[in-house]
């Protein structure tokens, strides 16, 4: 009995309550515990990836109850990938929070941070739809707490919007899950898939409605048009490490679509096989256009990065909507890239904001900021990566997706939208970069005391560099990484194996007897 699958979920939880108890011991103690635990999570997730390579599906029966009766955790390549991205991102965000002392700006930063990881990893590993709902709630509450960390008027307002919209989403989630349970009589995804495959045709309308409702829920999480309105302000106004960690939050929605819809509406689902994909593709394209326009219209760097994140989400939606193993593999490659780079970009935006003093991150000429050449160069690096220019990973991710789109009947739409949106983003980022870094006021004009920013925090800068390093790594090691995402996508399209693995896993023998349902 290997518990490896369960550890990424429970390690942050355990860390979380140790932190609750340790919160009297001062911030240093909390920092050490939190950071060590997050590093541990990175190590753990490497083991997860390697485990996912050796065996297709690790099914973990929580409470020793077999599926579909108990809750299962399932480790496959996708879960392992999501967990490892999350933990790497978390290390970067946490390092930044500690080195800039952002974690002192309010109570309980580390506790909320760890419970956020608990929610994320739980969502990535669970094989049960209702349990996914529970982890969504954990995520929501933890992220709401984190969002408000440090407080402030705009932050509180954006936080309220965030939590209310997501609560509407949770309500819809309950409707959808309730309906699916009512029709299918089960909550385990594998079992649901099996039941949908065998569902009488009279039930299909209801199942389809519940399926689309679930898509709306995940669309809210992923920030899909027209459900993304909670997102730009929330990300732009929260503290930098939180925004960085939130780079994975929208991906939870993408993950949920791939996992839940991909499993229960797979090839086996008869009339409903993949019926949701045109909606994902179409809305993804619309989202991308809106995101690109948002990038153009942004007033400040953080808002711009938030819209860039929206654009990356849109690209992922397009990849998912294209609905082929090649496109999915490309999507996953892009997902790794966009998550880590977006995280780094939020941190960088904060360094810019700190360096510009009273000018903050607004797009107007300010005084020459301390360390402008270094920050500016790294900004250009991040901007190239995020807007999908060569030679960094954003470009290759985009090319992979476009290449997969060539087989689709929508290819002209996909290619033109992706490329035009890309151009608008390049244009806007070039303008903001040149406004912030090039067009500086002369020393005399900008020498007011309020205008002087902080010197560059080199320790915090390490977090940005660390996350940005993902981009060249993704390019240089594109071959093994795409090999892994190829395998992952193939595995996901082979949902019969998943169903079989989950439903056939047997409990550890105990003294208690299990009564079988009589047919």
């Amino acid at each position: 009995m290997s518990h490896l699958t369960a550890w990424p979920v429970f390690l942050p939880l355990i860390t979380g309550f140790f932190l609750i108890i340790a919160h009297m011991g001062g911030i240093r103690l909390q920092r050490s515990i939190s950071f060590l635990a997050t590093l541990g999570l990175v190590v753990l997730s490497f083991f997860l990836v390697s485990a996912s390579m050796s065996v297709d599906h690790h099914v973990y029966l929580l409470g020793n109850w077999e599926a579909p009766f108990g809750i299962v955790l399932v480790l496959d390549k996708l879960s392992a990938l999501m967990v490892i991205i999350t933990s790497i991102l978390a290390v970067g965000a946490l390092w930044y929070a500690i080195t800039t002392k952002t974690d002192e700006k309010g109570a309980h930063f580390h506790i909320l941070f760890q419970l956020q990881l608990f929610g994320l990893n739980g969502a990535f590993l669970t094989g049960d739809v209702f349990n996914l709902f529970v982890f969504f709630e954990v995520l929501l509450l933890a992220s709401y707490g984190l969002l408000l960390h440090g407080s402030g008027r705009l932050r509180t307002k954006a936080g309220l919007h965030y939590v209310v919209i997501n609560l509407i989403g949770s309500t819809l989630f309950l409707f959808a899950v309730g309906a699916l349970y009512g029709v299918l009589g089960t909550l385990n995804m594998a079992d649901m898939a099996a039941k949908i495959a065998a569902a009488p045709s009279d039930d299909l309308g209801l199942i389809a409605a519940a399926g689309l409702l679930l898509l709306v829920v995940f669309g809210v999480k992923a920030a899909m048009f027209p459900l993304y309105l909670w997102m730009p302000r929330a990300y732009a106004n929260t503290s930098a490490p939180v925004a960085a960690l939130f780079a994975i939050m929208t991906k939870v929605g993408i993950y949920a679509i791939i996992r839940v819809h991909g499993t229960i509406f797979s090839d086996e689902a008869g009339d409903l096989a993949h019926f949701y994909t045109p909606w994902v593709l179409g809305l993804g394209l619309v989202t991308l256009l809106f995101a690109a326009l948002g990038v153009m219209a942004a007033h400040g760097l953080r808002e711009q990065v938030a819209y860039l994140v929206l654009a990356s989400v849109a690209t992922l939606l397009i990849g998912v909507g294209l609905n082929s193993p090649e496109a999915l593999s490309a999507t996953l490659y892009y997902l790794i890239h966009s998550t880590l780079i977006a995280g780094g970009m939020f941190l960088l935006a904060d360094l810019v904001l700190r360096g510009r003093g009273a000018y903050e991150d607004r797009f107007e000429s300010g005084p020459f900021m301390p360390g402008a050449i270094v920050i500016g160069s790294i900004f250009m690096f991040g901007a190239i990566a995020m807007t999908g220019m060569p030679p960094l990973s954003g470009f290759f991710g985009k090319v992979l997706i476009l290449n997969a789109a060539l087989d689709s009947s929508w290819f002209a739409w996909v290619i033109s939208t992706v490329l035009i949106a890309g151009l608008l983003m390049i244009l806007s980022v070039a303008r903001s970069g040149s406004l912030i870094f090039y067009k500086t006021l002369s020393q005399e004009a900008g020498s007011g005391s309020s205008a002087v920013g902080e010197p560059l925090n080199r320790m915090a800068f390490v977090a940005v560099i660390g996350l940005f390093l993902a981009s060249p790594v993704l390019v240089i090691f594109a071959q093994p990484i795409t090999a892994f995402t190829d395998l992952t996508a193939t595995q996901l399209f082979n949902s019969a194996d998943y169903i079989q693995a989950v439903l056939s896993t047997e409990a550890v023998a105990t003294t208690a007897t299990v009564v079988e349902i009589k047919p």
Partner: protein, 947 residues
């Protein structure tokens, strides 16, 4: 040994070495300003050295390909190719690059950062080498876009200058756009051919031309070409890019980057040319560009502006040659690429020297420099004459070939007869502006009001120009002994076959091309002579046509569109956002049902209605409606909300779910207290109500949602139901050791859900705590009717009563907790009851009094609760079972008798503690907040809960 091993991958080294060098150049400048120039020169020579051993291959008719796997799933290889065409361009890039580096070292002033310049310069050089040496087309696009990015950096090198920033951005937008189009074209091309490798693509000309995607591919690739090589209608970025330092212009805007588009034309010439679409698009763009460039060049007062338009014109000439589509035209095009690179680079350098020495580039002020800088003047005169196409210079030879091809082309179709005339007109202007460059600058009287007194530049600044001018002469006089071999190789590389017969002789006898040259020279002289009138006409009729205005207008329009769309959709309004989510949800449900033709409702019979249920439902509806309509009377609305909650618990009772009813009831109590505390801080007056339109819209959405949810629920409930819950009923006792199935599900079957939920509760408590730390809210000191708060802080009757209640409620909580596994109850409900018991104490006695007696931090309670709950799971892991596996046994105690002990009860204890801790923590923190707000205002004001 190692050297031969190195030779197996020296093509990538040639291209990537400059990138490595860029890092060193930046680093070297910290040691010594000039060190970075040395590094740059050294790296360029090194790249040449790596290229040198391979040069023999193209001459032997071989194409060298060095490739490695990169992303095999899409056919992206890390692949390099060396054939004649690539070799020619690589040599141009490296040799002219080296000359420009030497030149730039003297050109840059003390204020300019050498490290930054040479670092960007080397990156650009590497990108260009990558473009010309790429075998894989996606890799080519990568380098292509890199040239756009690095040129952005180079053009905006003097970043304090507005024109530099604007010019750089314009170049980036135009060439970036072209790059993206090129990417699309290459993707389609790869899709058609089935490979992104040039070798495969070059072998598939027929397949491509007969494919339905041929025209889109052609247009997309040409967009890349035209933007990069400044072809009409994208030519306007090039003059604005002249804000760059002159070495950059000499290198990028004459010899290399603008030739990248031309390179691509040459590269795809064998597969894409030959169709009418090619002839029209390429030939048309080339011809228009040739004319516009030549015309506009004459009227520039800025030396670099003149050279920029002249470059545009020559690029148009080359494009037109490729547009002719014949092999001989391709020969002429390649030849002119070489010639243009040499004379134009030298002219830019001359312009830079003059700018450097006089402090201006305005030809109306720079006059008569011959006597100040005779050496430079000679160089400039020779190079300009080459540009004008004067015999015995290289420009003459390729121009003759060009005229010859124009004449040939004029026979090809009925519309083409005018080509020779238009071509001669362009040549006339070309002669005129070359004359202007010579005459205005070096003769034409005395300089006007120059910032500096001109003199000859440092010797090494002239050496690169010397060399290039010598090449102009050498090629012009003895082409067979100089340029012929490399030209032949390059042509072979372009055509991918044996080159056609052509003659490089200076003298072909008296023929039509020679006549055309002669006419152009004479008429050009005349045009220059009558330039004053022409200038006036130009100023009043043409000068105000500026493509930049259109460009900026389009950009402004897109920006305005972006702002309008973004701000009208992302308004920052919660109502707006919620409407979209709810409406999308509604629509999704509708579309779902419409996707499949299946009945909405199932066939199960409905249960009969009884009078009481109907009555209760009516009350529920009324209460819901009143909650909304009375929302301004907050207390009443809250009571109505309470009614809704109570009816929901009644519904649970009716459908035999006592656990849920109990939970709902206790949650209801806690929520109402919480809301009361929160209501206290709301402003006394409600904000302005929304407009009628919005209210009616919201009513429609609300009604639709209600009906939608009802239908949705009906659809589920009217169908037969065979869930897994039977398993829970069967296994609750034998597997979970409890008869209360709900509780066994909570703590055992689905214990992880509960663990998650208590984490949520804990988060809520901790979140509220964190949120309220240090927060101060103004509290009202009177209610909406102007009455002051009751002065009686803690009424004695209430105090007495609640103190009596505490042990009683605690007893109940423990009782409910203990029986939970078998009868309605459990940790969650018990926790809520205990929390209410404690909260009542706070309410009645005040926070200080209660905290004095309740001496533990609720953080501990929450932490301990989570710890116990999780530890239950971890113990199971320690014993070799999965997380949260439970066990139970029966004990027989005296007096108590036989009873069952389940490990799940420990888990439930954790639940209990978290519920108590989180609830009390949230309420007490809110209470404290109101306490503080009172203390800050008026110490006499009593607490809010007595209102």
């Amino acid at each position: 040994m190692t050297l031969t091993a190195l030779l197996n991958f020296n093509l990538p080294i040639v291209a990537l070495l400059p990138f490595v060098g860029a890092v060193f150049a930046a680093w070297a400048s910290k040691i010594n300003r000039l060190a970075s120039a040395w590094v740059a020169a050294f790296v360029t020579i090194l790249s040449l050295a790596f290229l040198a051993p391979l040069m023999a291959l193209p001459f032997a008719g071989e194409t060298l390909i060095q490739s490695w796997q990169w992303i095999p799933s899409i056919g992206l290889e890390f692949a390099f190719r060396l054939d004649g065409l690539a070799l020619l361009f690589a040599l141009l890039i490296l040799v002219i690059g080296l000359l420009v580096i030497i030149y730039a070292r003297y050109y840059l002033s003390k204020k300019d950062s050498m490290g930054r310049f040479f670092s960007y310069f080397l990156m650009f050089m590497g990108s260009m080498l990558g473009v010309v040496l790429s075998e894989n087309l996606i890799q080519l696009v990568v380098f292509w876009e890199l040239t756009s990015l690095t040129s952005f950096l180079l053009i905006s090198y003097w970043q304090h200058r507005q024109d530099a920033r604007a010019g750089a951005r314009m170049a980036l937008v135009i060439t970036g756009m072209g790059g993206l189009a090129l990417l699309a074209g290459v993707l389609l091309l790869g899709h058609v051919v089935g490979s992104y490798n040039l070798t495969d693509v070059l072998a598939s000309g027929e397949l491509i031309q007969s494919h339905e995607l041929y025209v889109p591919i052609l247009i997309l690739i040409l967009l890349g070409v035209f933007t990069k090589s400044a072809q009409f209608p994208f030519h306007f970025w090039l003059p604005h890019a002249m804000a760059a330092p002159t070495p950059v212009s000499a290198y990028l805007h004459s010899a290399t980057m603008v030739k990248a588009g031309i390179f691509l034309l040459a590269r795809f010439f064998p597969v894409l040319s030959g169709s009418p679409e090619w002839a029209w698009l390429v030939g048309g763009a080339g011809l228009v560009t040739l004319l516009i460039g030549a015309y506009a060049a004459l009227f520039q007062h800025d030396m670099k502006g003149l050279l920029a338009y002249s470059t545009i014109s020559h690029l148009g000439l080359i494009t037109l040659l490729f547009g002719f589509g014949t092999e001989l035209a391709a020969v002429a095009a390649i030849f002119h690429i070489i010639n243009h690179a040499t004379f134009k680079a030298s002219l830019f350098m001359v312009a830079g020297i003059i700018d450097h020495e006089t402090g201006t580039r305005d030809m109306r002020r720079i006059n008569g420099l011959l006597k100040y800088m005779p050496h430079t003047a000679v160089l400039a005169i020779i190079a300009s004459s080459a540009m004008a196409g004067v015999p015995l210079l290289n420009g003459f030879l390729s121009k003759e070939m060009f005229f010859d091809q124009a004449l040939t082309a004029s026979h090809t179709s009925s519309w083409a007869w005018g080509i020779p005339f238009l071509v001669v007109i362009a040549a006339v202007f070309s002669v005129a502006y070359s004359l202007r460059f010579i005459h205005d600058v070096f003769f034409n009287g005395e300089p006007v009001n120059l910032p500096k007194t001109p003199h000859e530049p440092p010797r090494f600044m002239k050496i690169p120009v010397d060399l290039l001018v010598v090449i102009c002469l050498a090629v012009g006089i003895a082409p067979m002994f100089t340029v012929a071999p490399i030209l032949a190789v390059a042509v072979a590389g372009t055509l991918q076959t044996t080159p056609p017969e052509y003659s490089l002789a200076i003298w072909h006898g008296f023929n039509l091309p020679l006549m055309m040259s002669f006419v152009a020279l004479v008429l050009g002289g005349l045009v220059y002579f009558y330039r004053k009138r022409l200038f006036e006409w130009h100023e009043s009729n043409v000068a105000h046509w500026d493509a930049r205005v259109i460009f900026n207008a389009v950009l402004g329009w897109v920006n305005a569109l972006a702002t309008v769309v973004t701000r009208s959709f992302d308004k920052g309004s919660l109502q707006h956002a919620s409407v979209w989510v709810i409406a999308t949800g509604l629509l999704a449900g509708f579309i779902g049902f419409a996707t499949v033709s299946a009945p909405l409702l199932g066939e199960r019979a409905l249960l009969p209605m009884d009078a009481i249920s109907i009555l209760v439902v009516i009350v529920l509806i009324l209460a819901s409606v009143l909650t909304v309509t009375l929302h301004q009377k907050r207390l009443v609305a809250l009571i109505m909300l309470g009614v809704v909650g109570l009816i929901v618990s009644l519904a649970f009772v009716k459908f035999s779910a006592p656990d849920l009813a109990l939970t709902q009831l206790s949650v209801e109590v806690v929520t109402v207290v919480l809301l009361l505390l929160a209501l206290y801080f709301l402003p006394q007056t409600t904000p302005k109500e929304t407009s009628h339109f919005r209210v009616s819209r919201d009513i429609v959405i609300a009604v639709l949602s209600g009906v939608g949810v009802m239908l949705f629920t009906m659809a589920v409930l009217s169908r037969d139901f065979s869930p897994i819950s039977e398993f829970f009923l069967l296994n609750s006792v034998p597997g979970g050791g409890g008869t209360n199935v709900v509780n066994v599900i909570l703590v055992d079957f689905r214990g992880t859900d509960t663990l998650g939920e208590i984490a949520v509760l804990a988060l809520a408590g901790l979140g509220i705590y964190a949120m309220l730390q240090g927060m101060k809210l103004p509290a009202p000191d009177h209610d909406s009717h102007g009455r002051l708060w009751n002065r009686d802080l803690h009424p004695e009757i209430m105090q007495t009563l609640t103190r009596l209640l505490l042990p009683l409620m605690t007893m109940i909580a423990i009782y409910i907790f203990l029986r939970g596994h078998n009868l309605p109850g459990g940790g969650f409900i018990a926790g809520l009851i205990a929390a209410v018991a404690l909260i009542v104490q706070y309410l009645a006695n005040g926070i200080a009094w209660t905290n004095d007696r309740l001496k533990f931090d609720m953080h501990w309670v929450i932490g301990l609760g989570l710890l116990i709950a999780t530890a239950t799971g971890l113990v199971a892991m320690g014993l070799g079972y999965p997380f949260l596996t439970t066990t139970f046994t029966y004990l027989n105690w005296p007096v108590v008798g036989k009873f069952e002990v389940a490990s799940a009860i420990a888990f439930d204890l954790g639940v209990f503690l978290v519920v108590v801790g989180a609830t009390v923590l949230s309420l007490v923190e809110l209470g404290k907040l109101s306490d503080q707000s009172h203390k800050t205002q008026s110490p006499l004001k009593p607490q809010q809960e007595n209102s």
